[in-house]
């Protein structure tokens, strides 16, 4: 059963197409994210679902029923706005009670439900406080409670963590996921931050210039991207530009623009020889060696000089400048028992398995 379905949704503003032929299905009770760079049409898509914009064409179904033409206040989807939009002239209790009052529920029920939802979000007894008396993270939870008290079919969240500072953002990521479990409601989450999308979601749609590039679980997007854009946007990657010179099975031989050759796995079908391609290699797939050994047949090896070390605990990186000038990021273990340690200026050999390099048609190119 799908709580929310989009069918070839398109939205044009004049001659500009903000959302282009987007289709998706969100299963009940799941956490679905839309991930894309700024201006790709995420908010426009969400506003169509909430009913603030009419789609130019296509259909939106909530619990199987089309809602195109239904006014926003008759749709059972609630929205957490980017800047939360808590009502400043009401206290917390009144903010949460607003939707219930609109529905015409009686005072006793309203009071009970407001108390219950505040308990669930872990802020019991704040009814009488003013909005300005709460911290950023608390306001966040109130904004969610204000929607959840109405038991919506789908909760829409438009970059709700954007306004928070980094530390709180990390914390709220986990909390949001827990809240979603607790309320057992379908969440549709918009973000331009890939780590938010990867951590929280059951499914992620990667969006680019109004189109969905790929929809799938986070692991799939990370390990099996289908386009160059997804490979580059989701997670960190090293990118090599070149031209496809030969293919054998699912292996591609690429002549790099910077000189040299590289073998990588074909990430997509239908590439012809001579096409402009990009090869993506994740930093954690690369290992650095101080000595030059004979490279195994299914490994790629390149040589370079250590440029700098970026220490970040388990995520530490080694920046290596190849002899042709390309810069590469490689993972770097720095624990007590770690092997070779490097200093800037050292010569290193970087190796990775051929299957860890993914070859796609270059973006923009055919």
């Amino acid at each position: 059963m799908f709580d929310l379905q989009g069918d070839s949704l398109t939205k044009r503003f004049g001659s500009f197409t903000a959302v282009r032929d987007v289709s998706f299905e969100v299963p009940s009770g799941s956490f679905f994210s839309i991930l894309g760079p700024s201006g790709c049409g995420k908010t426009t898509l969400m506003r169509m679902i909430a009913g603030f914009e009419e789609p130019t064409s296509g259909d939106i179904r909530i619990k199987g029923t089309s809602v195109v033409g239904t006014p926003p206040n008759k749709r059972n989807v609630k929205m957490v706005f980017q800047h939360l939009a808590l009502f400043p002239m009401m206290n917390i209790g009144e903010n949460i009670a607003y939707g219930l009052k609109c529905r015409g529920e009686n005072k006793v029920d309203i009071r009970r439900k407001v108390g219950e939802v505040l308990d669930r979000i872990g802020l019991p007894g704040v009814e009488e406080k003013q909005v300005s008396q709460l911290s950023g993270g608390q306001k966040q939870r109130i904004a969610i409670a204000r929607c959840m008290v109405l038991e919506p079919d789908v909760l829409l969240l438009d970059e709700p963590l954007g306004a928070l500072d980094l530390k709180l953002r990390e914390h709220m990521k986990i909390e949001l996921k827990q809240l979603q479990h607790q309320f057992d409601t379908t969440f549709l989450y918009i973000t331009h931050d890939q780590s938010e999308a990867l951590v929280m979601s059951d499914n992620v749609a990667v969006m680019k210039s109004g189109r969905f590039e790929q929809i799938g679980p986070p692991e799939q997007l990370y390990h099996a991207p289908q386009t160059a854009f997804v490979a580059g946007f989701v997670g960190d990657s090293n990118r090599f530009e070149g031209r496809l010179s030969a293919r054998a099975g699912d292996e591609a031989r690429v002549t790099l623009d910077a000189g040299g050759e590289m073998v990588a796995r074909l990430g997509q079908e239908g590439l012809s020889d001579g096409a402009a391609v990009s090869v993506f290699v994740r930093p954690e797939a690369i290992s650095a060696h101080a000595t030059r050994g004979a490279a195994a047949a299914d490994m790629v090896a390149v040589e370079g000089t250590v440029d700098s070390l970026l220490f970040n605990g388990a995520n530490s990186r080694l920046l290596v400048k190849l002899d042709d000038g390309t810069q590469i990021e490689s993972s770097h273990t720095t624990g007590a028992g770690a092997g070779a340690r490097f200093a800037p200026g050292d010569r290193v050999t970087l190796t990775w398995a051929v299957a860890d390099g993914l070859c796609f048609a270059a973006e923009g190119g055919a």
């Binding site: 929205m79 706005f81 529905r103």
Partner: protein, 289 residues
């Protein structure tokens, strides 16, 4: 040390003209008028201190009736100005597109370019027996003979609303402009109808502007002189006219001062009552975070 001296100096320089203005033009004259109002005339150039002027005011129904009438009509004008000004302000602040907003606002200010007097005469040109409207109605054949549209309460109220509505629009536009559209969208999204969103979100949000606008408009109307006299003629019975008569025609400054003090006290009382009844207070209106 030098810093704080400079700070003090600039504070003094800033405050002096302001304080002089308040003291010389507002406080001193009011004290003078207050003092005069307690002077009873007992003979030529002979005065004693007493409340005789106030007793005289109360014992003459025409005086306090005029004051009450002025207050009622001012309240009516304030309500009408709010009802007309709110949609206009809402349109300018929220519906009009960014570019046309400034133009619309300027358009509202244009009447201020023309003096009060000239504007009132404009109405007279339109409304008098031989005026534009009467003539037009006759030529269309809707009425048989000329009609006098001047010198009645409706005309006075219309004229006053027209003069003061701008002072309602300006504070309303500035409060409404500060309202984030997402508040309205959240209002609809959570299930509100147009009416609930208006009543529970727009009006409470605009309340400081509404209160400020109403106070300004009420005070301006109650204290206005030209419009009621020119459009209402002898029938207007506006309290400022009584004050004028006492000061200028009768040359009875003591009585005129008494009326002045009473107008100030009475309008202040009405404003205070209005604030109490709507549960607002002046501090939250003026100093909104």
């Amino acid at each position: 040390m030098a810093r704080s001296d400079a700070g003090k100096l600039s504070l003094i320089l800033l405050m002096t003209p302001f304080l002089m203005w308040i003291v010389l033009l507002i406080i001193l004259p009011q004290i003078g008028i207050g003092y005069l109002s307690f002077q009873e005339k007992v003979g030529p150039r002979q005065y004693v201190f007493g409340v005789g002027n106030y007793v005289e005011f109360l014992s003459e129904p025409i005086y306090w009736n005029t004051l009450l009438r002025t207050a009622w009509m001012s309240i009516l004008v304030t309500i009408l100005a709010l009802m007309i000004g709110f949609p206009v302000a809402y349109y300018i602040a929220k519906i009009a597109r960014k570019r046309s907003r400034a133009a619309l606002f300027l358009l509202c200010l244009i009447p201020l370019w023309v003096s009060d007097l000239v504007r009132a005469f404009g109405w007279i040109v339109l409304l008098r027996e031989t005026g534009v409207i009467s003539g037009a109605l006759q030529s269309v054949g809707l009425i048989g003979g000329p009609v006098e549209l001047l010198y009645n309460d409706i005309t006075v109220v219309i004229g006053l609303v027209y003069t003061v509505v701008l002072f309602m629009i300006v504070p309303l536009v500035s409060t409404l402009e500060g309202m984030d559209n997402s508040l309205l969208e959240a209002g609809y999204n959570l299930g509100g109808t147009r009416f609930t969103v208006f009543r529970m979100i727009v009006v409470p949000y605009a309340m400081p502007g509404i209160v400020a606008g109403c106070i300004i408009v009420f005070m301006l109307t109650a204290g206005s002189y030209l419009t009621p006299i020119l459009l209402g003629g002898k029938n207007s019975m506006w309290f400022t006219e009584q004050i004028y008569t006492q000061f200028i025609t009768r040359y009875n400054w003591e009585s005129g001062s008494t009326f002045g003090v009473l107008l100030l006290l009475f309008t202040s009382a009405v404003v205070w009552l209005g604030l109490r009844l709507t549960g607002q207070n002046l501090a939250s209106t003026v100093a909104k975070e």
